[in-house]
């Protein structure tokens, strides 16, 4: 169906397509029986029709860079990778890009950049556009400016689990105001169909410049970001936050002489460089008026690189205390509660009786887009079982915090482990509707079986 050379039964192929970013190993019983790489929608169609007919589970795989485990096969079967479908057409006349789902965002960003366009999906460069659209994520960008794929996708080609190939949307820039079937597939985490083509609107590349502010406390960053929205300032493309403890680690690691405390760094943008600088200065002025110990527009690339290095140091936090690795919590507080949520995260390990009490916590996040993280690091030597308990504890605390601060999140392909949060937030009727919807599209429940059921 896809050509013998694109069917992989080798053990190591099956491992690499089943292992996830979870901090414990994949078990043999969760390896797919086979990994395949179809090259066209027609090939996808043949495989899915066969799988539906013979009740073979199919797990969809974009690039495997999700931070949880939607790509881990829960019921073996076929893992279908879209990596080969990586075509790219940039149509400047119509102002859209059309690509295969396997196209890496990094490649798209580079190709678009050469023509002066911007991809409103800034996930890690190795992630796939199909994956990002399936999860409806834009990475760290602010929703208020760029929208999400559900707003920027003009049309999709989708292969249904029963093998039919459908098209949604059009090539015109005006999207359907009424029913638009395409929206159902965006964000459904590959559970309703396999996206085989994505058409998105082009966006002009903005000019950008970085600015930074240092604050005595972490909460102040929460306050200032809330104020940024409330004062109607020009929103930055990126608004990142590094908590006091993590900031010190980054500064020590790179020998930087930045003021003590928490750091907020923004990437201001404008149609021209002058406009970007002006917008950055407005945010810097806000930082100063809201108590920043120091704030400035970053004029030279060397300083910009150092500032971002502090933020990028995240995966080494905890090493100074001999922690092996970490797992991040995602909390998306409603705007007025941003500072309170930061305060809660600062004390996340206090008074707990579960394994989180043994973790070292570091705060960071994408405050510009209302997303906070707490990176919980764990020590060397924890066995897999304990690690699983730790991850469970993290999901529990994440649920508590999301419910408390009004968030729901989902940028990581979240459904399986956040099913309890979904049910509590939206109720059983809502859950029953999406289950019925899944049954409508996928009567044999072949696609990503177990994810909607919350199997982890």
């Amino acid at each position: 169906m896809v050509g013998e050379e694109y069917v992989y039964e080798d053990l190591f192929e099956r491992i690499n397509y089943a292992d996830t970013l979870l901090p414990y190993d994949v078990e043999k019983e969760f390896l797919p029986d086979v990994v395949i790489q179809p090259g066209t929608a027609q090939e996808v169609s043949k495989v899915l029709a066969y799988a539906t007919k013979h009740d073979v589970p199919v797990t969809t795989y974009g690039s495997g860079t999700d931070l949880v485990f939607p790509t881990k096969p829960k019921h073996r079967g076929i893992t279908m990778s879209t990596e080969r479908m990586d075509s790219l057409e940039i149509n400047e006349e119509y102002q859209y890009l059309e690509c295969g789902p396997g196209l890496k965002t990094g490649k798209a960003i580079k190709a678009l950049g050469k023509l002066g366009y911007f991809l409103p999906i800034q996930t890690q460069a190795g992630s796939s556009i199909g994956g990002a659209v399936s999860i409806n994520t834009i990475g760290h960008l602010a929703d208020n400016i760029f929208g999400r794929p559900v707003h920027n996708v003009l049309g999709l080609e989708v292969v249904l689990p029963t093998g039919e190939i459908i098209e949604t949307g059009s090539k015109c820039l005006r999207r359907s105001a009424g029913w638009d079937l395409g929206r159902i597939f965006i964000g459904s985490e590959g559970m309703l169909g396999v996206i085989t083509k994505v058409r998105m609107t082009l966006m002009p590349m903005p000019e950008t410049i970085d600015a930074v502010g240092f604050f005595k406390t972490d909460e102040e960053v929460g306050h200032v970001m809330t104020r940024m929205y409330q004062k109607k300032l020009p929103l930055p493309m990126d608004g990142e936050f590094v908590g006091t403890k993590a900031c010190k680690l980054g500064c020590d690691a790179y020998g930087l002489d930045f003021p003590e405390g928490a750091m907020a760094v923004i990437k201001a943008m404008g149609r021209t460089k002058e406009e970007a600088v002006r917008n950055a200065q407005e945010v810097v002025d806000l930082f100063k008026s809201e108590g920043a110990t120091e704030a400035f527009v970053i004029e030279d690339p060397e300083t910009a690189e150092k500032v971002w290095a502090v933020r990028e140091n995240v995966m080494r936090w905890g090493q100074e205390k001999n922690k092996k690795g970490g797992k991040a919590i995602e909390v998306n507080p409603v705007l007025p509660l941003m500072a309170d949520a930061i305060k809660s995260l600062e004390r996340i390990t206090e008074g707990r009786t579960d394994l989180i009490a043994e973790a070292e916590a570091y705060l960071y996040g994408h405050v510009g887009s209302g997303s906070l993280h707490c990176y919980l690091t764990y020590p060397y030597g924890w066995p897999a079982e304990k690690m699983k308990q730790f991850v469970d504890a993290i999901w529990n605390v994440e649920k508590e915090l999301q419910l408390k601060y009004g968030g729901i999140g989902g940028d990581w392909g979240w459904f399986p482990h956040r099913l309890p949060l979904y049910r509590e937030t939206y109720g059983e009727t809502s859950y029953a509707i999406i289950k019925n919807l899944k049954g409508l599209f996928d009567p044999s429940n072949i696609l990503n079986r177990g994810n909607l059921e919350g199997e982890v």
Partner: protein
């Protein structure tokens, strides 16, 4: 029992180091092996090693993956910048040694004869030892020895001794050194530096070859080595005992800049060409020599220099490092030709007429890629020595 313990300790060490991987996949972003599958890249290789050890699965399939790495080390740049700063290249090389010595599934079938040739004849191709210096006939280059001491030893390396493309480099460099009145010589019985043996996991052979060369250096009282082979340059400085036991080791780009600074050489002939430069992995990323080649190129009158897309620390591999010169991975893995053609395309994108490099391996590989792409009319691959000689 003792052997079992040793085996366990190597496995434990590899497992422990690899378990620190955050599985972020970011190393794959830079890996030249990634074509369309995660398993093809650095991430897939290191995870395969990890699970291979965990599940005691040391198959030929694992071997193929482990030996497909070019050891370019670009993955480490990314891992160091934003992840756990793992020594991924070292882990892969340790695994190769483990597969070869303990599990007897390494090296790749084509490499077995290569290692034997290195051992028996002192070069990977198995050419007769006595033909090693044949390239130098007519050039009047003395053999360095106890009785004929020289200020500078030109360590030629296997590729520049035997390969026709490589010989262009050794001949050009020798004529340049002669023009500058450098008191230099070559070794009559030079053997492979052992660099590629180590890359294939044969560290014992690497040590043996190093001992041979070190004995000759000692006998001829060599204090200063200049080489045109970045692989030998790297292994002398970083893998020979004591970093070459006090030897001054230079790549020719460094040495030629020195003698140009001293006024011993003058480049006066104008060459009106547009050029770009490919950083060889073992000269650039692994040895931090980025400026000397560019400085030397800039000294050639008339040249217009265009920087290639991925350069310096982020230079892409030509595809032939890490022992891949003598093997082609199975079809399911990325071919060397794909890697080298990708690099040539980047050079073509600069609009350069000449793709310069400073490594015989890169020269051979990229020249072949230009031919396989049918781009001989658009771009020519040259070693910097060729242009320096033309500019004399």
């Amino acid at each position: 029992m003792k052997e079992d313990t040793l085996q366990n300790s190597i496995e434990e060490k590899l497992s422990e180091d690899l378990s620190a991987c955050m599985k972020c996949h970011l190393c794959n972003l830079f890996c030249p092996l990634v074509d369309t599958r995660v398993t093809q890249g650095s991430y897939g290789i290191n995870r395969s090693i990890y699970y291979g050890i965990k599940w005691n699965e040391f198959s030929e399939s694992l071997r193929d993956l482990v030996y497909s790495c070019t050891t370019c080390g670009k993955c480490e740049v990314m891992c160091t910048k934003v992840s756990r700063a793992l020594s991924l290249r070292e882990l892969i090389e340790k695994t190769r040694e483990y597969l070869l010595v303990e599990k007897m599934v390494g090296p790749m079938p084509d490499q077995t004869a290569v290692l034997k040739n290195m051992h028996v004849r002192g070069n990977p191709w198995g050419n007769p030892s006595h033909e090693r210096t044949k390239w130098a006939s007519g050039l009047d280059i003395p053999f360095a020895s106890q009785d004929n001491k020289v200020e500078v030893l030109y360590f030629v390396g296997c590729a520049s001794s035997y390969d026709p493309y490589g010989q262009k480099i050794s001949k050009s460099l020798s004529r340049i050194l002669k023009q500058a009145d450098v008191n230099f010589g070559i070794l009559e019985n030079e053997v492979c530096s052992g660099h590629e043996a180590r890359r294939m996991g044969e560290n014992g052979l690497g040590d043996y070859l190093a001992e041979n060369n070190m004995a000759m250096f000692k006998e001829a009282d060599i204090r200063h080595i200049v080489t045109g082979d970045p692989h030998s340059f790297y292994t002398f400085k970083k893998e020979y005992p004591g970093g070459g036991n006090g030897l001054k080791v230079q790549h020719y780009t460094q040495f030629l800049n020195d003698i140009l600074d001293q006024g011993k050489l003058e480049l006066s002939t104008r060459i009106d060409k547009t050029v770009t430069y490919h950083d060889p992995c073992y000269l650039g990323r692994h040895s931090d020599v980025f400026d000397d080649p560019r400085k030397l190129i800039a000294r050639i009158p008339g040249l217009t220099f265009k920087e290639i897309e991925n350069n310096k620390k982020l230079s892409d591999c030509c595809g032939m490092g890490g022992g891949r010169m003598w093997m082609e991975p199975p079809e399911r893995l990325t071919s060397s030709q794909t890697i080298s053609e990708r690099r040539v395309q980047q050079a073509l994108d600069t609009g350069a007429e000449i793709l310069l490099t400073a490594c015989p391996f890169c020269n051979i590989t990229l020249t072949d890629a230009v031919k396989s792409m049918g781009k001989e009319d658009a771009i020519e691959v040259m070693d910097i020595t060729a242009l320096v000689e033309m500019a004399l």
